[in-house]
Subunit: 219 residues, 2 copies
DNA sequence: TCAGTTGCTGACCGGCGGTCAGCGTCCGAC
DNA sequence: GTCGGACGCTGACCGCCGGTCAGCAACTGA
C-alpha cells in the first residue's frame, strides 16, 4: 500500500511545484505573455508533463486564481467577524478587499485576466464550482454587513442591500483596476492624483452616502 | 498631378475598408481572437497587404478605439453644453458616458482591451497622442462640470474636483465593465440584479453624496 | 528476472502575427 | 506603341505558441 501513497503524494507535490512556477511566471509576465515552455522550465519538467497535471493553460490559470481567492475570503471573513456596527463592518470589508488587491497589483491583474478574453472555462468542473463559490462568498459578506447596518440603524433602509453591495463592489472594482494599472493610466491621462488617497476617500464618500443620518459613525 | 492624388485617395479608401473590416471582426470575435487573416478576408485583400497600411495588429486596434473615442467625446461635449446646474451637467455626462458604453457592449469591451495586456504602444506616435488627448478630454469635461457645480452651489466644495471626477469616473468604469461583461458575471455569481437599474441608481447614489445640502436638485 | 504499469519526454502539429522576394500593373518618357 | 522604373500586392515562409502522443525509461510485484 505504501507505494501507491508515496506516488500520490509525489504527484501532488509535483502539481504544487507546477502551480508555484506558473504563478511566478504569470505574475511577472502577465497571463497572455506567459508561455507553457517557460512555466515548464521553472517547474523543471518538460512542457508535455504540464498536461499530465493540468488540462490546459486555462485550467492552470483558474487554479492559481482560485488559490488567491481562498486567501482573500479568509481575510474578508476575519474582517467581517471583528466587532462594530454594520456600517463599520462594511467599511472594513471594503478596505480589506482593496488592501488585498493593491498589496500585490500583479496578483490582482492576474485575477481579473478573464476580462475581455475567451477563456473557455467549463461550468461543470469542480474547480470552477469552487471559484464561483468563493466569488459569491465575497458578495454575501457585503450583503450581510449592509443588512446588519439596516438592523442596527447605521445604514439607511431605503436601498436594496444586494443592489448596493453590487454597485459599490463594482465601483470599488473599477478603482482597483485603475490603481492596479496605474502605469498604463499614467501613460494615457495626465493627472495630479494622489494614488494613496484614492480608494480611502472613495470609501468615505460612499459610506457617507449610505449612512443613516443622525447616527454617530466613524468617519 | 491627377494620378498622384487619385492614388492617395485610393490608398485612403483602402485604409478605411480595412479599418471597417477590422472593427467588424474585433466586435464579433474580440480583439484577442480576431485574426489578421480574417480581417484580410473581410477587407478583400491579402494578409500581407494589411501591413502596408498598418504597422501591426496593435496599431489597427488603436486606430479603431480612437475612432470610437472621437464619437464619445462629441456626445459628451454635447451633453456638457446643454443648460443646467453643474450637478445636472455632471449627471448628464455620467449618463451619456454609460449610455455610450452600453448601447454597444462589444465596442466598449474592445475599447478596454488594453487592460491586462502588454500592447506596446509607442508614446510618440501621433495616433497615441490623439487617443490620449481624447481620454483627457473626457476627464476634463467632468472636472469642469464639478467646478461649475461648486460655483453655482449645487456641488459641495469640500472635495477636490479632480479627485472626485477620477473616483466617480473609475467607479462608473467598474460598473460599465461589469455590465458589459454581464454574461461572464452571470456565470460567476448568482444574483438577482436588475441590470437595467444598476447604473442609473448608482448615479443617483453618488450625486446625492456630492450634492450641496439644501439645494433643490433633480433627483 | 521479467512483464506490465506508470511517468515522462521531445518531436511534431496546426494556428497565428509578421516578413519580403517576386510578380503583375501602372505610368510617363521616348 | 514600347520600355524601364515605380508602385502595389500576394502568398509562401518564418518563428513562436498551446497542445498532442508515440516511444522510451524507470518502477513494481510476482
Amino acid at each position: 500500500m505504501g507505494v501507491a501513497e508515496r506516488r500520490q503524494r509525489e504527484r501532488e507535490e509535483r502539481r504544487v511545484v507546477i502551480l508555484d512556477a506558473a504563478e511566478r511566471v504569470f505574475l511577472s509576465k502577465g497571463v497572455a505573455v506567459a508561455t507553457m515552455e517557460e512555466i515548464a522550465q521553472q517547474a523543471e519538467v518538460s512542457k508535455g508533463a504540464l498536461y499530465l497535471y493540468f488540462k490546459s493553460k486555462d485550467e492552470l490559470y483558474l487554479s492559481i486564481v482560485t488559490r488567491s481567492l481562498r486567501e482573500l475570503v479568509v481575510r474578508l471573513e476575519r474582517a467581517a467577524a471583528a466587532p462594530g456596527s454594520g456600517l463599520e463592518r462594511y467599511r472594513r470589508l471594503l478596505h480589506t478587499h482593496a488592501g488585498f488587491a493593491l498589496e500585490e497589483p500583479d496578483r490582482f491583474r492576474v485575477g481579473i485576466g478573464w476580462l475581455n478574453t475567451n477563456y473557455s472555462v467549463t461550468d461543470d468542473s469542480p474547480l470552477f464550482g469552487e471559484y464561483r463559490g468563493l466569488l459569491e462568498r465575497t458578495l454575501a459578506l457585503s450583503v450581510a454587513a449592509i443588512e446588519q447596518g439596516k438592523q442596527d440603524g447605521s445604514v439607511v433602509t431605503s436601498l436594496d442591500s444586494l443592489e448596493l453591495a453590487t454597485q459599490i463592489g463594482a465601483a470599488l472594482f473599477g478603482l482597483m483596476v485603475i490603481q492596479a494599472n496605474r502605469l498604463e493610466v499614467d501613460r494615457r491621462v495626465r493627472h495630479g492624483l494622489q494614488w494613496e488617497r484614492l480608494i480611502g476617500s472613495f470609501v468615505d464618500l460612499v459610506s457617507g452616502a449610505i449612512a443613516q443620518p443622525g447616527r454617530a459613525r466613524t468617519a
